[in-house]
């Protein structure tokens, strides 16, 4: 008897859908944006403008906002606070995570402390910061730090578990001193974990900075947001939100993505 090939195998494989490539991606994104704008417009027509201002109104509020001199000042202040908090978090979280990961004794000793810190919400840190630092830059910096640092530390710490025992043994055969093992084996191994932790930490830090600023600052975007809310200037709130969204997207595509591509060029591309 003849062996029959199942009919499915004879048929040509289905054509790949044309929804691929950069042009299609742009098209998809534009469609999503258009859809969101339409929904927003329709919603705005059925609500008073202090509840939901129309896209056109937000646009005009934004255009007049960005030309004000205080705009760049507020933006700079907030970014400076986020940057300072994040930099401190990296400065503390990265070496500490490495150290706790490289030493089992230190790691198991400090593990509970990290769990405790992680349970405290950012808002509570903001309130503490307000008590300790008052209306100063340090309030926001502290809150960003307390949010970002444990995230970076935890990620780096987890990353040290992926350090290969074989690589450590290799370093040992060359009698590499411990300090060099940290920088030449541990650090490069944990870099991807650090990077994803830092990205997460920066996002969280940036968001809680606004909470901190709206509670305990007399300048910056968070402060402006609260001011606008107090005066029921909903279009201003939207305009600031728009600014932040654009800023974050720009940071992601202009800084983080290229940096990641550069740092991890050694990784095998998964087709």
């Amino acid at each position: 008897m003849l062996v029959r090939t199942p009919p499915d195998l004879l048929r040509a494989p289905p054509r790949a859908v044309a929804w691929r490539g950069p042009a299609a991606a742009i098209l998809r994104r534009s469609a999503l944006l258009a859809l969101a704008l339409i929904a927003w417009q329709v919603g705005a027509q059925h609500a008073p403008s202090f509840v939901l201002p129309s896209p056109a109104r937000v646009w005009s509020a934004w255009s007049s906002l960005v030309v004000q001199p205080s705009f760049s000042a507020d933006l700079g202040i907030t970014l400076g606070r986020i940057g300072a908090g994040f930099a401190l978090a990296t400065l503390v979280g990265l070496p500490l995570g490495l150290l706790l990961g490289a030493s089992r004794a230190l790691g198991s000793f400090f593990e509970p402390a990290l769990t405790v810190i992680n349970t405290v919400s950012s808002t509570i840190w903001a309130i503490f910061a307000l008590i300790w630092f008052g209306l100063s830059n340090w309030t926001t910096i502290f809150v960003v730090f307390m949010t970002a640092m444990p995230l970076i530390l935890t990620n780096v710490w987890q990353g040290t578990r992926t350090v290969s025992a074989e690589h450590l043994e290799l370093a040992r055969t060359f009698r590499m001193p411990r300090r060099k093992v940290l920088t030449k084996i541990y650090l490069p191994t944990i870099l991807p974990a650090f990077f994803s932790g830092a990205r997460l930490a920066f996002g969280f830090g940036a968001r809680v900075s606004l909470v901190a600023e709206s509670l305990g600052a007399s300048s910056g975007i968070g402060y402006r947001l609260r001011q606008a809310a107090d005066l029921v200037q909903t279009d201003q709130v939207f305009a600031w939100t728009l600014t932040l969204v654009v800023l974050m997207l720009g940071l992601e595509s202009l800084v983080l993505k290229p940096l990641e591509r550069h740092l991890f060029a050694w990784k095998k591309r998964v087709a």
Partner: protein, 255 residues
């Protein structure tokens, strides 16, 4: 002066359940300069422990290890002795040249001198044109050459190899054997390697130390007086392989 001397070396490994495991029992080996010595034995006969002991990674519980006449615990010139693993153990984030440079980074050496040595060693193993390739872009044989270059870049006098190239295809493996012999002669090195592959021992070594298991001890030291290069398919090599197999199975029959 002998390159490596082991004098009545014994080792026990503590176990969580049960009495300590007797790994090595009164092992005496003297390896002269420029010798190529194979430590041959089945798994569990302590041959890797022996190699690690020479490398100074494991301390003997009894007996003495001397390198160029110096007791191993006082030996400081770790560049003069390097270790090559069964796997290539390349750092994936480093290029071939950077991986080779790793061998020199434990100590302090000027940037220019380091670069010069790295290029020279890459050329020695025939990889000069792949200096900027990452490990995942290289074939198994090339990766193995990078690992060899990393062990050679310190210009060691003694090279220790733990089951070298055993994960490579037979053809590539034969190539690596030829390469290793060429470089060992060129640089007047002493080679000590661990293997369970009888043919590899015969093709490479001028002396084969047959180890018997449980506890590991020397069964026989056999001189292989054949001219290099040795053809694995030749009568003479087959005869040596046969004799060593008999010596090995005698050890198995006893335990």
């Amino acid at each position: 002066m002998n390159a490596v001397e082991l004098e009545r070396v014994s080792k026990w490994f503590g176990r969580r359940d049960g009495p300590p495991l007797h790994v090595l029992d009164a092992v005496d080996i003297a390896i002269p300069q420029h010798a190529i010595v194979a430590l041959l034995g089945a798994s569990g006969c302590g041959k890797s422990t022996l190699l690690n002991m020479i490398a100074g990674l494991v301390e003997p519980d009894d007996g003495a290890v001397r390198l160029n006449g110096i007791p191993a615990h006082a030996f400081r010139d770790w560049r003069a002795m390097t270790y090559m693993f069964q796997e290539d153990r390349l750092l994936p984030w480093r290029t071939a040249a950077q991986n080779v440079a790793f061998g020199l980074e434990a100590g302090s050496m000027g940037r220019a001198e380091r670069a010069r040595r790295v290029e020279e060693t890459l050329a020695l193993v025939g990889l000069a044109s792949f200096r900027d390739a990452f490990p995942h872009e290289l074939s198994g044989g090339m990766r193995s050459r990078v690992a060899l270059a990393r062990s050679l870049v310190t210009e060691p006098k003694i090279l220790l190899l733990d089951e070298p190239f055993s994960k490579l295809d037979p053809d590539i493996r034969a190539q690596m054997h030829a390469e290793l012999l060429r470089i060992a002669r060129l640089r007047a090195m002493t080679l000590v390697f661990v293997t369970h592959d009888v043919e590899e021992a015969v093709v490479l070594a001028d002396h084969v130390v047959v180890l018997h298991p449980r506890p590991g001890r020397i069964g026989e030291v056999r001189a292989i007086a054949l001219a290099y290069p040795r053809d694995p398919l030749s009568e003479a090599v087959s005869e040596e392989v046969r004799r060593l197999r008999i010596s090995l199975s005698a050890a198995r029959a006893r335990c």
